[in-house]
């Protein structure tokens, strides 16, 4: 019974996607969109995906983008968690750093691009730094909030039980702040791909973003669509990975995770 309901739900969810693909195929195949080159059918996009994968172009560019995202996101998140924990834990540090963080946080990550192009130059470090900045500030903000929001009674309980400050931080405060920390990470996991593509389109000659810009100059809408699909899937996948990690680490004890 449960399986049957599950299958029905899955079918209900898949239906709009199938419908979307069918409509797309019909519009492309019967040239219902003005200018047939600008709207290839779905099957042509799939074929292009296969060709780009087979000749290694997509793989090479995808790998460049993935490496940048992984390094930038990892670095930004670790640094963000570190700074956020200290800011949430030590009131004086929070007081000193929060005006700077508050000033820099609202700047869109791509806003840094012109400055970083001059400071760093056009090389691998440029997109990595952009992603670092993109993930650092929100993670700092969410981590600080999470740490500060830990109910004082847990800290009092740990204190009366004789725990040292380090034990309280690592065994009580950080685990209890995890749901907040993961909120920041999950949001930034998808956002880092969006920022990367924009950076690659503007300044970097390799990567999915660069491939899209090259395709645009050759009026290869099918390649652009392949890139967009890859981007969409990666955003979704990264968010899902963090959601799964959160479920694994927090879901057991949090009744609402």
């Amino acid at each position: 019974m449960k399986n049957k309901t599950g299958r029905l739900q899955w079918a209900w969810g898949a239906m709009p996607v199938i419908l979307f693909v069918v409509v797309w195929e019909i519009i492309g195949r019967f040239n219902l969109f003005p200018g047939q080159f600008f709207f290839p059918p779905f099957s042509a996009v799939v074929k292009e995906f296969y060709d780009l994968t087979a000749n290694g172009i997509l793989g090479k560019n995808f790998l460049s983008s993935l490496t940048r995202v992984l390094i930038g996101l990892f670095g930004g998140s670790i640094a963000g968690i570190f700074v956020g924990v200290i800011m949430g834990w030590k009131h004086m540090v929070n007081k000193a750093l929060s005006p700077i963080i508050s000033l820099l946080y609202p700047i869109p990550a791509l806003g840094w691009l012109p400055l970083l192009m001059l400071w760093i130059g056009i090389n691998e470090m440029l997109p990595i730094t952009i992603i670092f900045i993109c993930s650092f500030f929100p993670v700092v903000y969410n981590t600080t909030t999470g740490i500060k929001n830990v109910d004082k009674s847990y800290i009092y309980a740990a204190e009366t039980l004789g725990a040292s400050n380090i034990m309280i931080l690592f065994k009580v405060i950080i685990p209890l702040a995890l749901p907040n920390i993961f909120t920041g990470l999950r949001l930034e996991a998808g956002m880092s791909w969006r920022v990367l593509i924009a950076a690659e389109m503007v300044a970097i000659p390799t990567g999915i973003g660069a491939l899209m810009i090259q395709a645009e100059s050759l009026v290869r809408v099918d390649i652009i669509m392949v890139c967009l699909i890859v981007l969409s899937v990666m955003c979704l996948l990264f968010e899902k990975i963090f959601a799964l990690a959160e479920k694994h680490m927090v879901g057991r004890w949090s009744s609402h995770a």
């Binding site: 109910d151 009674s153 847990y154 009092y156 309980a157 740990a158 204190e159 009366t160 039980l161 004789g162 725990a163 040292s164 034990m167 065994k171 009580v172 685990p175 209890l176 995890l178 927090v250 057991r252 004890w253 949090s254 009744s255």
Partner: protein, 349 residues
């Protein structure tokens, strides 16, 4: 087990408190919400700053961290770590002390057995019922073998039956452990049941510290008397044991037969809600009944208080509004007065 002394201690609403809690006693702090009960526990535990001095066994502990005060604290909200299992919650204090794994396991298992929560070992706090959570929290606070136990409303937010059961178990446990205990509650009956001495606190000021009996029979001022709700204290002029478990007492024109085992009775205290009045003669044996005159009727939200005069004595009766409205009772009218025997309190001569 140590003595605790608070000397001129002030914090928030509490000002200039002077309290001595004796070795091994169960000291109950009672008072209305917001009167400063929890603040006193926080001061003893050292989880809050304060003015004044706190001594534990003649050692001033001001500036001593909570972990070094050797205090077990059952918080009102329990503060069970939601990310740790029952076992890990209880083991937390032992790990903090650097105990070896084998010894931790042994101690935690014995505590879980004592609190009858062994089957909950692998569960997380959100999977437990209210009563189970309280047991786990109590086991956790007892795990590092504290010299002082602070209990903040340990039976609150439980249904009546569970609270009663847990209270019984806790009394047994505290008597067995003989550990200096400071127990905060706002339930007078609970305080009476559990306390060696009771401190009554209003607006951060201690109004009276005495044994439960003294609190009921010798309230030191009007506010204590009102809080304990025992305005009907009757001096007995004669007391005679009829048979085992039955005593006849006389006070002026009142003559009552009361269930009591153990000597002559000097005073009786009757809660107002245990005095029943009726405009018609109630059925049943004419035991512990009198005629009384209604002097004053005061209506509250859910109850009506009736001041009665019987002979030269004034009694205060309290009835639910619905029950009162069913009767035809007016000021100046004669009514039948029945003393219920459920919650009488006695002082022996």
């Amino acid at each position: 087990m140590p003595e605790i002394r608070l000397v001129n201690v002030s914090k928030h609403i509490c000002s200039e408190l002077n309290i001595t809690i004796r070795n091994n006693e169960i000291f109950v702090i009672i008072g209305p919400t917001g009167s400063g009960k929890t603040t006193i526990l926080n001061i003893i535990a050292g989880v809050t700053d304060y003015k004044g001095k706190v001594y534990i066994d003649e050692q001033c502990v001001d500036g001593v961290s909570p972990g070094k005060r050797n205090v077990g604290y059952l918080f009102q909200g329990l503060a069970l770590f939601p990310h740790l299992t029952v076992f890990e919650n209880i083991a937390f204090g032992l790990r903090a002390k650097g105990m070896k794994e084998g010894a931790i396991k042994e101690r935690v298992l014995s505590l879980m057995e004592m609190m009858r929560i062994k089957h909950l070992s692998a569960r997380y706090p959100h999977m437990l019922s209210g009563g189970e959570k309280k047991r786990v929290a109590l086991a956790r606070s007892l795990a590092p073998s504290p010299q002082i136990l602070l209990l903040d409303e340990p039976t609150s937010s439980l249904d009546h039956q569970t609270a009663k059961y847990l209270r019984g178990e806790m009394i047994d446990l505290l008597r067995k452990l003989r550990i200096t205990t400071v127990y905060v509650t706002h339930d007078l009956r609970e305080a009476e049941e559990i306390a060696d001495r009771i401190a009554l606190i209003f607006h951060g000021k201690i109004e009276q510290i005495s044994t439960p009996k003294d609190l009921f029979f010798n309230p030191q001022n009007e506010s204590v008397s009102q809080f304990v709700g025992m305005p009907n204290i009757i001096e007995c002029t004669q007391s005679r044991i009829l048979t085992s478990g039955l005593v006849e007492v006389v006070s002026g024109e009142m003559r009552m037969i009361l269930p009591y085992d153990g000597g002559n009775i000097k005073k009786i205290a009757i809660p107002p809600e245990d005095i029943y009045i009726s405009d018609v003669k109630p059925p049943g044996p004419a035991l512990n009944r009198f005629m009384g005159k209604v002097e004053e009727i005061t209506r509250y939200n859910s109850a009506v208080r009736v001041k009665l005069s019987t002979g030269n004595r004034t009694l205060l009766a309290e009835l639910p509004i619905a029950a009162f409205d069913e009767m035809n009772i007016e000021e100046g009218k004669e009514v039948h007065v029945v003393i219920k025997l459920r919650r009488l309190r006695y002082v022996k001569s």
